[in-house]
């Protein structure tokens, strides 16, 4: 559009798995992330007893990349915790087509996904308590829902572009 258009630089890859060898040890490379998510996930991973090692780093501050290293206990098995999030059938059944380990071994990616689910649940919980402690949050949420519904209706009515300029 213009000569001085500045485009926000995105990271090259949004997600990459590094690591040869058993699937219990992996480095996950996340693009467009930083300490915000890296440290939070690392902390949740550390508290998982099936995880032997969890660490994160930002290789260079100029690049929006985070490396998360996860090593799980090879004897640990997947539990049904992941099932509560809705991926009910695939995760805790042992023999599933396409799974890396038909024995239900707790891989590094499983640990990462578990940690993400835990963190998401934690956000939900804090949000719930926040709404109780500060009622304006609930008022705002309902108002926003109503406004968005109104806007959706006016959009579906066929667009009013001719009304104003």
């Amino acid at each position: 559009m213009s000569v001085n258009e500045v485009k926000i630089k995105r990271a090259e890859t949004a997600f990459e798995l590094r690591g040869t060898g058993p699937p219990t040890s992996r480095t996950i490379v996340l693009g467009d992330e930083d300490h915000t998510l890296g440290n939070a996930l690392r902390h949740v991973l550390m508290n998982d007893p099936r995880v032997n090692f969890a660490g994160y780093c930002v290789p260079h501050p100029s690049e929006p990349v985070v490396h998360i290293r996860v090593q799980t206990n090879p004897e640990a098995k997947k539990t049904s915790w992941v099932a509560t999030t809705g991926d009910d059938d695939s995760e805790d059944e042992e023999i599933v087509d396409g799974e890396n380990n038909s024995s239900g071994q707790f891989t590094a990616i499983d640990a990462l996904k578990d940690a993400c689910h835990t963190l998401a649940k934690q956000c939900d919980y804090v949000l719930e308590k926040l709404e109780i402690a500060m009622p304006e949050v609930r008022v705002d949420r309902e108002r926003l829902k109503r406004l968005e519904e109104d806007m959706m209706f006016s959009k579906e009515d066929g667009g009013d572009d001719d009304m104003e300029e």
Binding site: M1, S2, I8, A14, F15, E16, L17, I28, L30, E33, D34, H35, T36, L37, N39, A40, L41, R42, H43, M46, N47, N52, F53, Q71, N73, G98, N100, I109, L112, K113, C116, H117, L119, A120, Q122, C123, Y125, V126, L127, K129, L130, A133, M134, E136, V137, V139, D140, R141, R143, L144, L147, E148, D150, M151, S154, D160, D161, M163, E164, E165
Partner: protein, 427 residues
């Protein structure tokens, strides 16, 4: 090799040849979670405490509040004419920093939709807010007034909305409301307005600067007239559905919607003009995040501190206690009468910790060698006191809620990416 273990106050490390374990459960019961507002000095500021979460979570919230909550701000400025002394880029920079009083969640992100014919990015009424600025400085005050009135007439016909328009609509609404309310309210408290009250000072300043007949300029003979360009001179050009969705008469709930789309403050000085100088420009507001540019940050700042923990190792009495109370912030320590056993020993009063929230961990008390030995200060690791100052487009509690939602979105995105990577590995 035997596992090596080391214990710290917060937990213990266990190192074996194949694993490293960190166990932060020094107490059998973890700190229970609680969140509680502490104070709201004004509608834009909130102080609350968050207990029982880890520092990485609290820090994640703080980082997201500062840099990853989207807001609307002027981004693209089309300069038609600028003969003022303020350079184009400086003026555009100042325009970008003007905060807009609009709830950013009602707008879409720019740069996603593409127009079919030209292949360029589409600006629609759902992702762009258009403002215009057209100021001409007259030779003297009278001339300036005349020119301004002429231009205002023209703008009204084009449907452009100025700060004065919104003010007049809102004033009419208020007077209508007051006529209804007058029957209910008998007296209104007539307190002597003190200048220390921020609102009074604000209103006074507002009415002083209000509109154009104010001698702001330094009066000396022969000094040319100076036209000050304020944010109230910015004209909102409603596109598409915007006037219907953001009506001028809406009172707005919270700090977001209210009276069309205007900057949060109408008194921000943008530029100064001398006779004959003109500024004419069109500015488009887009959605962005603080990571990209600080103008998009919805908080003046958001910060947290850890709860101070003050322990009295040796009891402190009488004059020493009085000195202690003065070293600390008011309210941290109070003097209480001693109990009978201590009375027998001849003491009259002693100091107890009463409000650790007020303590800022200054170590002034250490200047007294005796006090230095009697007090131990530390921080409680899982107890955070947040302070969120909103710029004004969203309430501070709402900003905290948005930060939590964004953190959740990030986690869900990672799960999605991980599933995608797994699927592509097997496929």
């Amino acid at each position: 090799m035997a596992p090596h273990q080391s214990n710290t106050a917060l937990g213990s490390y266990t190192v074996t040849p194949t694993s490293l374990r960190w166990d932060n459960s020094t107490s059998p019961t973890p700190t229970p979670f609680s969140i509680r507002p502490l104070s709201r000095p004004n509608p834009h500021e909130l102080s609350f405490e968050l207990i029982g979460v880890d520092v990485s979570f609290a820090n994640a919230l703080r980082r997201i509040m500062i840099s990853e909550i989207p807001t609307m701000a002027l981004e693209h400025v089309y300069m038609w004419n600028n003969t003022s002394l303020i350079h184009d880029e400086v003026l555009c920079h100042r325009l970008g920093l003007v905060p807009l009083n609009v709830d950013p969640r009602l707008f879409d992100e720019f740069g996603i939709e593409v127009e079919e014919e030209t292949g360029e990015l589409a600006s629609t009424d759902r992702n762009t807010i258009v403002f215009r600025l057209h100021v001409v400085c007259g030779g003297n005050e009278k001339e300036d007034e005349k020119m301004r009135r002429k231009m205002e007439k023209k703008w009204k016909m084009e449907g452009l909305v100025s700060g004065a328009d919104v003010e007049s609509v809102q004033a009419k609404l208020k007077s209508k409301k007051k006529r209804h309310d007058d029957s209910d309210e008998e007296e209104e408290e007539e307190q002597d307005p003190s200048v220390m009250d921020v609102h009074v000072a604000d209103d006074a300043a507002k009415s002083a600067i209000r509109l154009h007949n104010v001698k702001q300029t330094i009066d000396s003979a022969g000094r040319p007239f100076t036209r000050h360009v304020y944010t109230r001179d910015l004209l909102w050009a409603p596109q598409g559905d915007q006037l219907a969705n953001f009506p001028l008469h809406s009172s707005g709930v919270g700090s977001g919607l209210g009276g069309g789309i205007r900057p949060i403050s109408e008194d921000i000085l943008l530029a100064k003009l001398r006779p004959g100088q003109v500024i004419e420009l069109e500015a488009h507001a887009r959605k962005g995040v603080g990571k990209d540019h600080a103008k998009f940050s919805p908080v003046a700042t958001a910060s947290y501190r850890l709860m101070p923990h003050i322990e009295i190792i040796k009891p402190i009495y009488d004059e020493l206690a009085e000195e202690l109370v003065n070293w600390f912030e008011p309210g941290v320590f109070t003097l209480v009468p001693v109990d009978t056993k201590e009375k027998k020993e001849g003491y009259k009063q002693k100091a107890v910790v009463s409000n650790p929230y007020a303590c800022t961990m200054s170590r002034n008390y250490m200047r007294n060698a005796e006090l230095k030995e009697s007090i131990r200060m530390s921080r409680i690791p899982n107890h955070f006191i947040f302070n969120v100052e909103s710029v004004g487009m969203m309430e501070p509690a709402v900003i905290v809620a948005e930060a939590l939602r964004i953190l959740k979105e990030k986690c869900e995105k990672v799960v999605e990416l991980a599933d995608g990577a797994l699927a592509s590995m097997e496929g």
